[in-house]
Symmetry: D2
Subunit: 129 residues, 4 copies
Amino acid sequence: MVQTEIRVIYGDTDQMGFVYYANYLRFFEAGRNEYLRAKGKPYREIEAELGIRLPVVEAGIRYQSPARYDDLLVVETSMVQIRRASARFEYVVRRGGDALVTGHTVHACIDFDGAICRLPESLLARLAE
Amino acid sequence: MVQTEIRVIYGDTDQMGFVYYANYLRFFEAGRNEYLRAKGKPYREIEAELGIRLPVVEAGIRYQSPARYDDLLVVETSMVQIRRASARFEYVVRRGGDALVTGHTVHACIDFDGAICRLPESLLARLAE
Amino acid sequence: MVQTEIRVIYGDTDQMGFVYYANYLRFFEAGRNEYLRAKGKPYREIEAELGIRLPVVEAGIRYQSPARYDDLLVVETSMVQIRRASARFEYVVRRGGDALVTGHTVHACIDFDGAICRLPESLLARLAE
Amino acid sequence: MVQTEIRVIYGDTDQMGFVYYANYLRFFEAGRNEYLRAKGKPYREIEAELGIRLPVVEAGIRYQSPARYDDLLVVETSMVQIRRASARFEYVVRRGGDALVTGHTVHACIDFDGAICRLPESLLARLAE
């Protein structure tokens, strides 16, 4: 599990005074990026060196409690399941001890022509460490 | 079912050349707004006149095929289930005949103090028409 | 001058209850897209057929009065100045008769290698009509 | 001058492969927030304790060079001018030694009824330190 800090800005909030519901998918992406970086393989390198992309094919979010302007959030990201051609990430967004939002994303593995392909062994080995 | 047109702008896309995955939740909201307006009860009036809010407590999205810059999308919105204190919306984002993305949101009904409350009868009657 | 309608969604607002200041640049882009489409040359075709891009090199915005959730705004877009390798657009965002926000953008003309180039004659002719 | 780090995510980019032009205003806001925090008066407290707001009345941006996905940017924020009822911030967005984008914002000082008011002496003293 990798932790990523997010400071909520005005631009993340809506007129209800809470973080707008779509923005948690941005926070999830930030968490995912830092997860891969912590594993030694930033997503930028996955694209550039391995010639693959990992587009999202499914996302789910549960909103338990709202985040607010200037909150210092922590996104806890883990990778919980890896199939041959897909990967699943799970996320918990916390403020202090409280879990505000949980969610997951499922990613396909495609090459630059858009064809589904296997996750490279070198990447799997990295992520399994 | 209510249809809402969305024209994709550059700002909706990401460097993969597709609409960024979080932005579909914005499109869903646009669809939801127009659904309620078509039923004669815009969300602005629901807040102002009925004194309730309908925050999202759950969202799910399946990404089948990517939308691109300048696509003219149609969000088809329907309300499929109404419980005493919650409502569920379903969405299909189409380009021409193709369903690109599907999803749903579940909304709680809360008053302005944040307490869960029943959906007002007057609203239920409207939506059931 | 070309008019483009924008319906403000919750996701456009911030906790002050107004449209977040960055989002007007999205509205300007929507206006710009529709301006070029109305002139018979959508930006997508400018990129695809003429092999050029028009990145923004300067933007300015004056915020006179706030837009709010569910407002039906109109972006009035005009092109006021064309140099050999740059173009300037001006925008007025209105709600009813009121001008809420005004602004401008200046765009360079670059080819796909990133080199500055002249605006194609065929495009200039179109825009001058 | 206060420095704020920004890690560019996919959601910040557009299909040109660069950070979308509106998102720099989000980065400016993050820089402004950290500037005020570093001065000992986070904007959240300015609203909550001083009863004032500082909405943006003018913004200007110059785009010299594009930022890209996964760049680690630094926003350098300074406050360069303070009038009785307005404040001006200036921003430089850097990647390493390169200044990619520069800009400014001008803010009015209003109370919670929306009336223009003087910047509180206590705040001016803080910011002048």
